[in-house]
Each structure stands twice: as C-alpha cells, then as structure tokens.
Amino acid sequence: MSGFQIVVLWSDVLVWLLLAAGIGLAVLIARNPPLLAAWRRVGSNRIGMASATILLAFIAVGLLDSLHYRVALDGKPGEKTQYAIEVLSALDALVGPLRTENEKTYSAPFASQLYAKETFDRPGVGTVREFPRLKYGASHLQDPAALTGDVAVTALRAGGLALFGWLLLASVVALRCGGWRAVWRGDTAFAWNAVLATLALIVLTLVPLFALAGDYHVFGTDKVGQDVLYQILKSVRTALIIGLVTTLVMLPVAVLLGIVAGYFRGWVDDLIQYLYTVLNSIPGVLLIAAAVLMMQVVIDSHPEWFATAAERADLRLLALCFILGITSWTGLCRLLRGETLKLRELEYIQAAQAFGVSSWRIILRHILPNLMHIVIIALVMDFSGLVLAEAVLSYVGIGVDPTMTSFGTMINNARMELGREPVVWWSLTAAFAAMFILVLAANLFADAVRDAFDPRAA
C-alpha cells in the first residue's frame, strides 16, 4: 500500500469553511426563537423538505469530492517519495472503477459492445467489421444475451437491500415520532413523510444504480470512453461551488454597502448608488466575458504558480466565482438599501437613536437581524440561477477550465453528438437531467424558505 499526500485546494478550504459556517449558523438559529420558528415552518413544508433531502444527497457527493490527495508513486526505498501528478478525491477512491475503467470511445448505457465498428482479422474468416466487446462493461458475462437477466437480478437484489435499509430507518423515525400513522399522515411537526418518501426514492434508484455501475456503464461512455455517471458525480462539486461560493463572495459586499447606503444616506448613498449603477449598466455576460478573458491571460502568463493542473483549474473556478460575485451583488445591494431606508424610519430605530446608541451598533443590533430573511432568501434563490449560468458560460467558453468536469463542459463536449447518426443521446440527457434535478430541488427549497421567511406570507 503506497502512501499519499493530502492536497488542500483553495476551493476545498472554502467548501469546508462554508460547512463550518452553516453549522455555526444553525447553532445561532437554535438560540434565536423567531429564526427558529421560521426554520420550523420550512421544516413543516413537505415540498421544501423533499427537495432539501435531494439537495443533501448532492451536497454529500460534493463534500466527498472535496477531500483531495495525491497517491505516492512506487519508488525505491530510501529515495524521496514522488507523488502522482493527478489529484484524486475521496469520491474517486469510493467509486474507483468508474474512474479507471475507460473504454475506447462511445458506448450506450448498459451496452456490452462499443458504439463504433472496428476491423478485425479473424482467423479463417478474414477481415470483418463488427462491434467489439467492451473492455469493462458487461465483461463478466460470457454471453451478451444474458445481459437483461443479469441486470434485472442485480437491480432487484440491490433494490431489496435498499428497501430493507430504508424500512430500518423509517421504523426508527416512526418509533420516535409517535407511530407509523402519525408519520404517514403528516401529523409530525417536521415533514417526515416527505423526507422518508424522498429517501425511499433516492435509495431505490441509487443503490441499484451503483450496484450495476460496477459491471456496466449505466449511463454509457463518452467520446474518449469515460463513464458518464462518473462525470455526473464530478460535476456536482463544481455546480455546488459555483452556486454557493459565489453568493458567499458577494454577500458581505452587498450587505455592507446596502445597509451603509440606506442607513447613512447622503453622499455615502450617492457614491454606492453610483457604483452599482455603473456595474449594473454593463450587460452581465459581457462584463463576465471581459473579466474571464483577462483572468485567462493572467493565468496563462503565470504557469509557475500552479503545481498541478487541478490547482490551476481550481483557481480558475474560484476566480470565476469571484467574477460572478462581483457582477451579481448589485441586485441584493439595491434591495437591502431599500429595506434599510424603510427600517431606519421605524420607531425602534429612533428609540435606539434617542438613547444615543452608536450608528454601527444600531446597524448590528437592529438593522442587520431584521434583514437576515432577505439575505437568506437571496442566498437560496441565487443558487439555482448560478448553476444554470455555469452551463451557459462554459458553453460560451468563459466558464470553468475545460479540463474540469462540470455540467457545462459535459454539455459543451456532447452537443455535437446529436448530429451523429445514430444519435449519441446519453451524455447530454444525463447532464441535463442531473442539472434539472439539482436546480428544481434548489428552486423548490428556495420557495419553501421564502414562504417561511417572508413576513408578508407569515
């Protein structure tokens, strides 16, 4: 067993910081009854909780993919160990074969043969053109005709296992929440029935899928023979980082400037308004394009900054997040400025002013907490938009590094395949479907959060 070296990418730092911030926020919320009440309303929303369950599954994949390491190369004892140039993650280790078992080129989902004919010299028959068997996919079968039966048996077995696991979990929940009936009919304060139903759906799809993924390419392979399921899994982290880190980058700027402009008014307000009108007046895509082009020049002219390709791709991803953040804070800033203008006229702010409470303390104690719902709503609402934007930007050529797997690069690489005859549909379909599920879950969750936090809805 060779050793390994832990690699901490910048985006990993941010991801785990985000997780820590999320946990910290949860602790804070637990201590503040009004906020807790709002989250309880989210918790009782069935659609919201079902989508949260799906989001959590995506997040789990993303987190696993954020623990990076480099494997030590076999060297002579006594020599300094050399590490592989390739940066792997915990996810890669878990789904090992998916990463390594590459075919020659396209193969359809559950195929046993390659998608393109090759020329063989058969002794006695001569030269024939036929579809060769895959190197890995369904290679354990002697006869490809047994494929359907094998798939069905494996899927059923795994499905049974999943069902058993789910029943175990469900009975724990039922025991703790007052019986099956109460859980099923939705009499619990937390929407357990929605969570359990979604979980059932997830495990009953995913467990058989992964059980089959060992022997087959369940979503097929792409042009260079890479497993599509593996690409989907790797894309999740990219999407999550774009969706979350971007908001995180812009949030402090938007909150600070918005509140300061609304609270102090006067020339500060004029200046901040001028700033965001200028940024706003440049069409978003063009500003991003310009900034990304410039960033590319910077990265290309400083190759010495990066030890591995992964590091370079990672920095480019973060830079993209910053650029997206800089171009998208104006909306939230304007919204917060308007709300602050309203809040500062409220009587409890004036009461604090009458005590001579300092302006910054008023902002921290009275204004910021009463704007938190807007910030939270903005955070979850922006997520889906950013995930969608990544795909478009990668298509235009100003997205993530082409070597980094993302929904955008997948679509970009696969879009010409629809023109082939017969059609290679699986890459595109898988990428669009995965993105649709992620974005739909995020949108539905955002709706639940907004309904719970919007004071007008309460």
Partner: protein, 671 residues
C-alpha cells in the same frame, strides 16, 4: 318600528385556518329598517367588519359563510348565485371603507370610478352619466366638480377621497349603505364634516345604514339603534336613547346594560374623571381558536358567576327594543369603588426645566435639473414651549400640523433648523457626541405604534436594557438584570417577560414595554407621541392609568402629543394647540378647554363627537382641510377656514395675545 329592510338571522362567518375553520362571527341577528342607522359597536377583532363584508359576500379569500341568512327586502342574499349577487353589490347595497387613501384605484380618474357604477347599475354612459356624476359630486360637497372629475385620487385630500368614496357608493342608488369605520382615518374636523354629510344624505334618501365603528362618540352622533359586539357575538341591542340616556351609575345599578358596555363607558377618559383611575377590563379578548363555551365575556367580567362559564346567556329584554345577553341581573356590574383616586400631582408650575424658544424645523424641497432648494416644508415654524417638572403638557393638533416633528426635534432626533431647546438652562441644539448623549438621559420618547417601536428580534429584557447600556448607567450584567426586573414590575408586567420576544405580547403590553424602556434611564421628561391612538378604549385606559401612576410615583413630566381631546381633558395640566407648524393657543388645561379663545381651538373642541345624548347642538363646522405646510396661506395660516376672518387676517400673522399669566392666543380677534 318600521318594516325591517335588512334582516340578518343567525349569521355565522369564519376563516379557514389549516384544516379547521374558526368562527369569527358566531350567530348574530339584527334588523335595519328603511331610513334607520344601525351601529355595530365593538373593539378590534370582535368581528364587526367581517359582518359587514359577510352581508355583501365580500369576505377575504380565507373567509367562509358558515350559516344563517341575510335578507334584503325579502330576497335571501346568501342563496343567490354570484352573478345575481353582483346586481345587489354596488346597486341596492353599497359600502364605504375605512381607508379612503387605499380604497380608490390610484390610476383611474374619479369620473371613471364613479362612472363604472353608473354604467353597471343604472345603464348610464356618455353625457347623461357625466351629468349625473357632477350631481353626485355636488351632493357629497365637492367644490369644482367639473375639474375633480378628471383628477386622480392622489390629487385629492383625505377628506375629499372619502367624499368620492361616498359618491361612488351613492351612484347605484342603494337602499342600504354599509359604512365600515368611515371616519377613523380622518382628522376630527374632517370627521365632523363626513358624519354630517352621511347623516344628511341618509335622511334625504331614506337609506338604511349599517355603521361599523369603535367610537362611542360617533355612535352617539349617528346611530338610531346600536348593537354591541364582543368576540363574534352581539351582546346588547338598544335604541340610541336607551343606550346613552341613562346617567351612568344610576340605572346601570339596575343592571340594564351589559357589563361589557358598562366597562366600555367607564374606560373612557374625560374631564370628570381627572384624578381618578379609569376602569379597565382585565385580560384579553379570547382568541378565535380558544373560544370559551359559556359567556365569552365571563373571564373578564367583574360579576362572573358559575353559570356564566357553563351556559351562553340567552337574550333578555330589559325594555322595549333593548335586549341584553347576560346572566347577571343585579346592581352595577362595574364597581365604582375600583375607581379610587390616584394622587393628583397638580404641582404649581415651578421653574420650567425644558424651555423651547422659536423652534423651527424646515425640510428643503428640491426641484429642477440640479436639485436646487426651491422652498421649504415648514413642518415646525417657530414653536415656543415650557415644561415644568412633574406636569403634563398636551400638544394637540390634527395630522400634518407638525406635532410629532416637535417631539423628535426636542430629542434632537431631527436636527432643528433654528431656535433653541434648553434643558435645565443648557442649550441642546447643535450638540453632538457625548454631550448630546448625556442630555438625552433626561428626556425619552414613547412612540405611537407599539408594533413598530420594539425590535422583533430582541428579547424584552434586551430591549429595556438598551438605554442603560448605551448611556452607560448600569454596565454590570447583574445590576442591569435587576433594574430590568424592577422596571417590568413598575409597568405591571411579570418578571418572566424579560426572556420573551415582543411578538408574544398584545398591543397594550407592548406599549408597557416601550414605557419601561424609556423609563430605564430615569428621564425627567417623557415625550409620548400618541401612545394610545393605536389601542382599543379599554387598553387605552390601562396605559393612561399607568402613565398617571408613574407620574405620581416618579414625578416625571410628560409632553403628550395627541389629537384626542378626551385624553387631553383627562390627563393634561397644560395644553398647547398647534396648527400648520405653529402654536395658536396655549394655557392651563382648564383655561384652554373651558374658555377656548382661538377659533381653531373652539372648532376642534366642538367637532369631537361626545358619547352622550346631549351636546353637539351648536357645532362649529370648519370648511376645507389643513393646507400643505409647504405652502401655507399668507397672513394668519388659519384664515381660509376661519369663520371670523377679516382683511387683517389675510395680511398679517397675528401676534400672540397674552390673556392671563398662563393663557395666550395667536389671533387677531380672540373670542
């Protein structure tokens, strides 16, 4: 009694809340005859507005009709299909709403909004419709109707908007007019105009009218018969004469009126009750989700008996046309002995410790390309006041007169444009930083809206302690916590309130918290900006009692900013009357209230509807409404509305005339 036109029988209305439906109106019955005004009287949340909406079948989305019947001249309204019901709505019955500012469509002209009723119900359009609209506008007392017809609601004043609403309602020639708090959002002089108008129109047209109100004075002015509502039920129905004629305390002793009605009357602040504690109703209206089974007033009733908690009381006729729903038949339900005197701290005015001279607050009006200042809104334009320790100065005026701005300018929350505010001889205007903070210790403010004046994200304890921390009074946590507990006790709240959040408290309790917060820094002066105007009468009585007790105990002085003369009469030692940024009359309360010398003061006093049968015979009616402070009339600001105005009034603003040591008036012709 004439043949009933509207017959409401056992009407039940509710709201869908999750899987349940909560009854907001639970089986009320009444009738209205042609030409009769029936007033539904009750405090907020008693279901009176829901009743009005239910009759028109205009309930909000979650509203449900649960049962009963509504008959209009024999037709059963609740059974009509929606299309047929629309023939009634706006045609045979019409409604006026509380907020004229939001009840008219902002982007349609006045003519369009009246015209669509004429077209819908009278089949009029084109020239005849326009003629009819002009006639209607004239009837509701709008001058220059030709111009107004093509104007938009935002171009009209509040009173004029309500007149347009009335014209809209009248356009369909209704047999029944439903008026839901038609004057609550209006100033008292405008309220008087609108009430006169409604009474006149009703008499002229012989309409039936259902008047929804919380104001006993409005009831006394308008109603022929009265129904008192409590928690979704009618508890008393009486004619105006029966309802008001009884001298309180005598025939009440015979148990004629419902204990709730008696308590409502007893909670009213008025001059006769100066120096006495007002009667309050303990507890709160039960919530819709937890209605008690028996009498709904039982928990708060001073005369509660065992039977009250078990059975809902039946109707009992105490006189012809006067019925009460109460088990109690004994002597006065409201015990007069609770009305023991509070120590009246009517100190001789000593040396004033707060002196305000020629205070001015002008807001610039900017216009044009470069946003140059082209004029000023003279919100406060030369106000002089003095407040002595332990006394209450009431600053009275209608909306837009600048009284709230005065309060904020005293605290330096708004920077004054001129004049001086001297606290114990020290000038506050222009002060900043630490010295201003030190001065603010001596003055604090209680705001109007108890829902906007407490930060919803802070615990009550933190809210109260904020001032102590900011002004550096109690830095230690333990001492601060002890001080908070003492303050909570002082304002009559339990100690555990400190750990709770504002949303868990009712309006009255919130106002107590706000008072505790202000008292936390031990100020000598409390500026109370309409602290009771958002509260129900019975809750208002609690707050007024508290303020009086605190003054007796702590010797704190009040600047009481209000538009409510009843409160002034009950509470104030000194009175200053404001009109368009200036004080027009000031003096001792008895001087100003008994012998008002400024025509505006006299008109204001006579415009207040009194909850009595007598009174209101020689009402002075002011024409028009308060002009904009951006462009006040030349000469005496009041001259366009003044019945006594002469040429000199149109040219010069009157100097202040000193009438006595304490009483002065700014009028050329002090009456």
């Amino acid at each position: 009694m004439a043949e009933p036109m509207l017959t409401v029988t056992d009407l039940r209305l509710g709201f869908a809340a999750g899987r349940r439906t909560l009854a907001a109106v639970d089986g009320i019955s009444f009738t209205i005859a042609k030409g009769e005004t029936f007033a539904l009287l009750g405090e907020s949340g008693c279901g009176k507005s829901v009743t009005a909406q239910g009759i028109l079948r205009l309930l909000p989305a979650a509203g449900r009709v649960l049962g009963g019947s509504v008959g209009l001249n024999g037709a059963e309204l609740l059974a009509l299909p929606e299309a047929a019901m629309r023939e009634y709505r706006g045609g045979r019955m019409a409604m006026i709403f509380q907020e004229p500012a939001t009840s008219l469509n902002p982007v349609l002209t006045v003519g369009r909004q009246i015209g669509e009723v004429l077209e819908r119900h009278r089949g009029l359009s084109g020239e005849p419709a326009r003629a009819r609209m002009l006639e209607l506008l004239r009837q509701v007392g709008i001058a220059d109707p030709e111009r107004r017809l093509d104007e938009y609601p935002f171009q009209l004043s509040g009173g004029m908007k309500q007149r347009v609403m009335i014209a809209v309602a009248l356009a369909g020639e209704p047999e029944l007019l439903i008026a839901d708090e038609p004057t609550t959002a209006l100033d008292v002089t405008v309220q008087a105009q609108i009430l006169d108008l409604l009474a006149g129109l009703q008499a002229e047209r012989g309409m039936g009218m259902l008047l929804i109100t919380h104001d006993l004075g409005v009831v006394a002015r308008m109603a022929h018969r009265i129904g008192v509502m409590y928690a979704g039920e009618l508890v008393e129905v009486a004619s105006r004469a029966d309802f008001f004629a009884v001298p309180r305390g005598e025939r009440d002793a015979l148990g004629v009126r419902h204990p709730y009605t008696q308590a409502l009357f007893a909670a009213l602040p008025e001059v006769a009750r100066r120096g006495q504690k007002l009667v309050t109703i303990p507890g709160q209206v039960p919530s819709l989700a937890a209605m008690p089974g028996g009498c709904r007033f039982a928990e708060r009733c001073p005369q509660v008996m065992a039977v009250c908690r078990e059975q809902s009381p039946p109707w009992r006729e105490v006189a012809a046309g006067h019925a009460v729903r109460c088990h109690w038949q004994g002597a006065a339900a409201v015990d007069a002995s609770v009305r023991h005197a509070v120590t009246e701290l009517d100190l001789e005015p000593g040396r004033a410790f707060l002196e305000v001279a020629d205070l001015k607050v002008h807001f610039p009006i900017r216009k044009g390309i470069l946003q140059r200042t082209v004029g000023h809104v003279r919100a406060v334009d030369g106000v002089s006041l003095a407040i002595a320790p332990g006394r209450t100065l009431a600053l009275v005026g209608e909306s837009g007169c600048g009284k709230t701005t005065v309060g904020k300018a005293l605290l330096q929350l708004i920077a004054p444009s001129g004049g001086s505010v001297r606290l114990a001889g020290n000038e506050l205007v222009g002060l900043a930083g630490r010295r201003l903070r030190a001065a603010r210790r001596h003055m604090q403010m209680v705001f109007q809206d108890p829902f906007a004046s407490l930060n919803p994200r802070l615990r009550v304890g933190e809210i109260i302690a904020e001032g102590m921390g900011a002004l550096g009074l109690e830095r230690e946590r333990a001492a601060q916590a002890a001080a908070v507990l003492a303050l909570l006790q002082q304002v009559g709240l339990p100690a555990e309130a400190a750990e709770r959040f504002p949303h868990e408290f009712s309006g009255g309790q919130r106002q107590r918290i706000a008072i505790a917060r202000a008292l936390a820094v031990q100020p000598e002066l409390l500026i109370c900006d309409e602290p009771t105007s958002a509260l129900d009468v019975s809750v208002q009585a609690q707050i007024l009692n508290l303020l009086k007790a605190l003054q007796a105990e702590l010797g704190v002085a009040y600047l009481f900013i209000t538009h409510n003369f009843a409160v002034v009469e009950y509470l104030a030692h000194d009175v200053a009357v404001m009109y368009l940024g200036r004080i027009v009359e000031r003096g001792r309360a008895e001087e100003v209230l008994r012998t008002p010398r400024h025509p505006y003061t006299r008109a204001l006093l006579s415009a207040v509807p009194v909850p009595r049968l007598e009174g209101g015979e020689q009402r002075i009616r002011l024409p028009g409404e308060t002009p904009s402070p951006a462009n006040p009339p030349g000469g005496c600001h009041f001259h366009p509305r003044c019945p006594q105005a002469t040429d000199i009034c149109r040219q010069n603003y009157p100097e202040s005339t000193v009438l006595s040591e304490t009483h002065s008036v700014a009028c050329h012709w002090p009456g």
